[in-house]
């Protein structure tokens, strides 16, 4: 049957072809390879849609396509494709955003007369290929490989304007920081292979399945350092989490993301907002069956997520540049997803991942549109009053902002509410440390709702409302259809995509509205459905729900609290910044503002770690290498050369010496072996 799955490899292969085309033929093509990229991503989008429809029909796909290392009496290393509802959803998101970003790039890059376009489109193509391959990777090694490839593309694209000072440095930073996390990931991958003998995500022979059996005493696994299986699985999970925290910019590895804004804005939208940053969260969701077995890992994930959400939101409050605000907001929103995953809200996390991809891509593209208009000035204090001059951008940006702030009925409200709701009920219901941690994480998540509302609308008001504060803002540069079209598509989606899963409304009205729950709960491959995860969470990790006000009451109360806080944030911003001539109210924060502007001195302490700790360590290692290791090596070689010199001297050149030596040696041998052999 030549169904959609037969063509699944083409979803990733098409952008790869566009990468090759842009790289080798981009110079000779009218738009520097843009058209190839648009065609390829449109193809991927259509195929993804077909795949999603097939999956909706109940089919799944889990197939090894290529074995690149045959294992003899051990595991094999393979490449394969795994498509279940989660994959299908993510494929759709990635290919949609990639397509829109390619279109937008026509306006942002081509129309602005940028040079190096083939390199740009080659980077986008390679990224899209890698990301899509990562999404449907069937095992963790393949996932790791493409995880690294998207990291590489991120590096290349952040540093696109490599002739300026800041972008290459930012690219390097992004590469190094995420790499730091990836070391743990790699160790985790090796550990998983060593423990389970497989890296498969799904199926009866997958490592989450084996891990569960091992905890039930039905399977044997190799653990290390004398740990019991549960502890060891926690260790493995946390190792992989290292990569996740790097890629999804979670505290303390979030520092690279704000700097990554040095890249072109469409790149920020695609890579550093909607897709690559989501790779970390997606990975946790992909192997959720494994994390669900370890309450400790869940607690850590939730805590990291909640803390990051609040931490980043506070920094977003004082930023002056449009993209910086969005960057911190991105970090904060991924914190929510991690919080959801840690709190057992698998569906909530995926839901928020979906809505966030839409509205954050929209906001970035909107910001890109503003930046075009402002002749690449990103400082919000130089803007103001743009709403009348660029209405399409304004209204779509507003749609995205409402979604981000979590105002009903925009997308972000439904997903963020569900995240907080899950954290709350599981925090209340779970016993022991896990419950406490979840409640603490919930509190942080809740608090950051207020900040989110505030910084979002501070950004909106400063940019679009009031009076223009500079000449450029008075006469902005116009934008073309290729900018407005992606904005319009995403603007509509940001407003509506939340309808996928309106849990509070469902509970209120009794009408079935939680479609995403259905999508993820059924029809997946055994062990990868949200239903299984729910059972696992409850049985193994001890995550239990508790509704203090009854199910409906709790739901509504939670929604009301988060909406109230969001509105409070928006309202504060309204009163402070929706005026003709806004002033820098954040100055009133005093020294706190300095701390916030310096991002809590995160960069400073990381630099100190590098120069104050790592560098002396490296020097010590170098000393050891130069002195001890080289010393031994040199010693050996001088002894050898000295010995060699002695050997040479034996060869005197006088033949009678040789005869003497030969005869003596023979006599010595005769005597020695005569004594041994007892001849005498």
């Amino acid at each position: 049957m030549a169904g959609a799955f037969t063509y699944a490899p083409a979803i990733a292969a098409l952008p790869f072809v566009s990468f090759l085309v842009a790289l080798f033929l981009g110079d000779r093509m009218p738009k520097g390879g843009a058209l190839a990229g648009i065609a390829a991503t449109a193809g991927s989008l259509l195929l993804s849609a077909w795949v999603a429809l097939t999956v909706a029909g109940g089919a799944t796909y889990n197939q090894t396509l290529y074995t690149f290392i045959e294992g003899i009496d051990t595991f094999e290393l393979t490449l394969g494709i795994l498509i279940d509802p989660l994959t299908a959803l993510m494929l759709l998101i990635v290919s949609l955003i990639a397509f829109l970003v390619h279109v937008f790039s026509l306006g942002y890059m081509n129309d602005e007369g940028e040079t190096g376009l083939p390199r740009y489109y080659a980077g986008l193509g390679l990224f899209t290929f890698s990301m899509l391959s990562f999404v449907y990777a069937s095992n963790i090694l393949m996932a790791f490989m493409f995880f690294e490839l998207v990291g590489l593309c991120s590096f290349l694209l952040i540093g696109f304007w490599f002739r300026e000072a800041a972008p290459p440095s930012a690219a390097k930073k992004a590469f190094l920081v995420t790499r730091f996390g990836d070391y743990f990931f790699l160790v985790g991958v090796v550990g998983i292979f060593a423990t389970f003998g497989t890296g498969a995500f799904a199926g009866a022979e997958s490592f989450p399945a084996i891990a569960e059996q091992a905890l039930n005493g039905e399977a044997e696994v190799t653990t290390f350092f004398g740990m019991d299986p549960q502890t060891w699985f926690t260790v493995l999970g946390l190792l992989v989490l290292g990569g996740v925290m790097g890629k999804s910019a979670q505290f303390p590895l979030h520092t690279w993301l704000p700097d990554a804004m040095e890249g072109p804005t469409p790149v920020s939208a695609l890579i550093h907002a909607a897709t690559m940053v989501a790779a970390g969260v997606y990975l946790v969701a992909r192997m959720y069956g494994f994390y669900a077995l370890s309450p400790t890992a869940l607690a850590i994930i939730a805590l990291v997520g909640g803390f990051t959400a609040l931490f980043a939101a506070t920094m977003g409050v004082v930023k002056q540049e449009l993209k910086q605000v969005l960057a911190y907001s991105t970090i904060s929103q991924y914190g929510y997803m991690m919080l959801a995953l840690g709190a057992g809200g698998y569906v909530a996390a995926v839901f928020h991942l979906t809505t966030h991809a839409m509205f954050k891509a929209l906001l970035f593209l909107g910001a890109g549109s503003v930046i075009i208009a402002m002749h690449h000035n990103e400082n919000m204090w130089d803007m103001g009053g743009l709403k009348d001059r660029m209405p399409v951008t304004y209204w779509t940006f507003l749609s995205g902002s409402l979604a981000l702030a979590g105002i009903v009925p925009f997308a972000g409200f439904w997903s963020k509410d569900e995240v907080l709701f899950e954290a709350l009920i599981h925090g209340l219901g779970s016993d022991g440390g896990l419950g406490t941690v979840l409640l603490a994480a919930y509190a942080m998540g809740l608090l950051s709702v207020f900040f989110t509302g505030f910084y979002t609308f501070r950004m909106v008001f400063l940019t679009f409302h009031g009076k223009p504060r500079t000449e450029t803002a008075r006469k902005p540069h116009g934008v073309g259809w290729n900018v407005k079209f992606p904005l319009a598509v995403l603007g509509v989606l940001a407003a509506t995509i939340g309808f996928l899963n309106m849990v509070p409304l469902e509970k209120l009205t009794g009408i079935h509205l939680s479609f995403l729950h259905d999508w993820l709960a059924h029809g997946g491959i055994e062990m990868t459905t949200s239903e299984t995860y729910g059972t696992l969470l409850h049985d193994v990790a001890g995550v239990t729900a508790h509704y203090p006000l009854g199910e409906l009451g709790t739901t509504l109360a939670s929604a009301a609290v988060s909406l109230g806080l969001a509105l409070a944030g928006v309202g504060t911003a309204w009163s402070l910044y929706n005026v003709d001539e806004p002033t820098e109210h954040t100055d009133k924060l005093g020294s706190l503002k300095t701390v916030l502007m310096h991002n809590y001195y995160q960069d400073e302490y990381q630099v100190w770690l590098a120069t104050g700790v790592t560098y002396p360590l490296a020097r010590a290692a170098d000393k050891f290498d130069q002195g001890v290791v080289d010393g031994v090596v040199n010693g050996v070689s001088s002894v050898s050369l000295f010995g060699g010199g002695r050997m040479r001297r034996l060869q005197s050149g006088v033949v009678s010496n040789y005869a003497t030596l030969i005869t003596t040696a023979l006599v010595v041998l005769l005597v020695a072996f005569g004594l041994i052999g007892g001849w005498f």
């Binding site: 040479r648 033949v655 040696a665 052999g677 001849w679």
Partner: protein, 504 residues
């Protein structure tokens, strides 16, 4: 009955064809020379010599693949034994004849250029072929008398060949020294043979073994065996009988150095393998002398002496000479690791396989030196600076030889050293294995010096090669290609080597 016997005789005679081909070509060369004594047409003489040796090499190969020298029970055509078991043609003799004949072919092809400005070409080729006849006969020798005669047949022309450059003092001096040490060693060898004969009353190898089994005077036999070890050590250039080698190899024309260090060494080893496994098997001769221990001592000493001395040389040819001594030490593992209970075919086969690979890579390396001498670039490492800019192909081949000699996986030397190492592991002679590893590591140092000089260093001013001799190039490149092909093709070599080793 008579007819059958005749048939058998005919087929038996043909088994010696490779040896006969070598000898007959030598005679043919003398004939050509006497018809036109002033004929200095290098091509004709080299052609006759080259064709003769190539024919011998091809014949042995045909024999090997055709199953000659393999017992009929194993699907072969049977082991041929001639002259009342004085001469035997089995897979081992064919294997070594192949090494000798292919080395001679390379050497002859290379010599056609090397000798361009020299006189007495016919004599040169004749001597080479006569020596190789002796060597291939040595591979078939099945009695101590034949062994001694073929050893002399191999040695005497070699003395003359080393001294071939009559106007070159170094060459003449080297020849004389070689002759003197050779005379001493031959005396030791002959005395050893006489003592063994005195103890056992037999010269034929199997008869010797039988006699020892029936009980002999161990003292006399032990001294005799040890002296035969001396003779073998001389021929293989192993310590402490190696003193002739550096000087002879350095003084001789480079193709002759290649010939002596590859073919002559192989011939020495085949003699050792056959004598010690057939005439003095460990289980019977062990009472008189534990010759495995003797070879262990010799192997370790030889490895260290050869490699350590090579490390401090300034001249490439002399470095190769010492490295050739070191390699004799490696091959000695084939005898030294024959401790009780170990699989003989594996250990001995490893030594044989290494000799075959070594035959190509070492010959190639010396022929490259011949090429350098031909160009007159000088003898030291520094003189080779930047040669790759002028002769990249030859330098690439040389790089393959050197790295393969060191045991890097760029040529067959990697696998042959590896099988030797496995032999030491399987026999538990870890000291030999350690010596092998240490010395291989050390050898990488001095081989790399040549590679570095050729490829990395800047050429000296005015380094200009205007002439690319076809014969030398052909020989060097052919040896390089074979060395490289022996990496994937090592299975075939080790297959023959192990099956041959199991027959002795």
């Amino acid at each position: 009955m008579t007819q059958l016997a005749l048939q058998m005789t005919q087929s038996s005679w043909t088994a010696l064809a490779p040896t006969l081909l070598l000898g007959l070509s030598a005679l043919a060369l003398l004939l050509v020379d006497s018809i036109s004594p002033e004929e200095s047409d290098s091509t004709l003489l080299a052609g006759v010599a080259g064709l003769g040796s190539l024919a011998a090499a091809v014949t042995t190969m045909v024999f090997l693949f055709g199953g000659r020298g393999l017992p009929t029970e194993q699907g072969g055509q049977g082991i041929v034994s001639l002259f009342g078991d004085q001469i035997v043609v089995d897979q081992m003799s064919l294997f070594f004849t192949f090494i000798v004949a292919s080395v001679v072919t390379l050497v002859v092809v290379a010599s056609s250029d090397y000798l361009r400005d020299h006189r007495y070409k016919a004599e040169y080729y004749t001597l080479v072929l006569l020596a190789s006849t002796g060597m291939s006969l040595l591979a078939s020798a099945n009695s101590l008398a034949i062994a001694f005669i073929s050893l002399e047949l191999a040695s005497l022309p070699s003395f003359a060949l080393v001294a071939f450059l009559k106007s070159n003092k170094g060459s003449v001096e080297a020849g004389l020294k070689y002759f003197l040490i050779g005379a001493l060693s031959s005396a030791v060898f002959a005395y050893g043979i006489s003592l063994v004969y005195a103890a056992t009353g037999a010269l034929q190898f199997d008869a010797v073994a039988t006699a020892i089994g029936e009980g002999v005077q161990t003292g006399v036999l032990g001294i005799g065996i040890l002296m035969i070890v001396g003779g073998v050590a001389y021929k293989t250039a192993s310590s402490p009988f190696h003193f002739w080698a550096p000087e002879a190899y350095e003084g001789a024309p480079a193709p002759i150095s290649a010939f002596l260090s590859s073919a002559s060494k192989a011939a020495g080893f085949v003699l050792a393998f056959r004598v010690f496994l057939t005439a003095f098997p460990v289980d019977v001769a062990g009472a008189a002398i534990d010759w495995v221990l003797v070879f262990q001592v010799l192997a370790i000493v030889t490895m260290f002496v050869g490699n350590f001395a090579a490390a401090t040389q300034e001249k490439v040819k002399r470095m190769l000479a010492y490295s050739s001594i070191g390699h004799a030490g490696y091959v000695l593992i084939g005898l030294a690791a024959l401790t009780g209970g170990v699989d003989q075919s594996q250990v001995l086969g490893a030594g044989m396989a290494h000799l075959l690979v070594y035959g190509f890579m070492n010959t190639g390396a010396f022929l490259f030196v011949a090429l350098a001498e031909y160009w007159g670039v000088g003898r030291t490492f520094e003189d080779y600076n930047g040669l790759a800019t002028q002769a990249p192909l030859a330098c690439a081949a040389m790089t393959v030889f050197l790295f393969s000699l060191a045991g890097l996986p760029i040529g067959g030397g990697f696998f042959s050293k590896f099988t030797l190492l496995m032999a030491t592991v399987n026999s538990g002679t870890w000291l030999l294995g350690a010596a092998l590893i240490i010395n291989s590591a050390l050898s990488l140092f001095y081989y790399t010096r040549v590679v570095k000089a050729m490829w990395i260093e800047d050429p000296a001013d005015g380094l200009e090669l205007d002439d690319y001799p076809v014969g030398l190039y052909t020989a060097v490149v052919a040896a390089g290609v074979v060395t490289f092909l022996l990496l994937p093709g090592f299975d075939v070599v080790i297959g023959f080597a192990e099956s041959a080793a199991s027959l002795v």
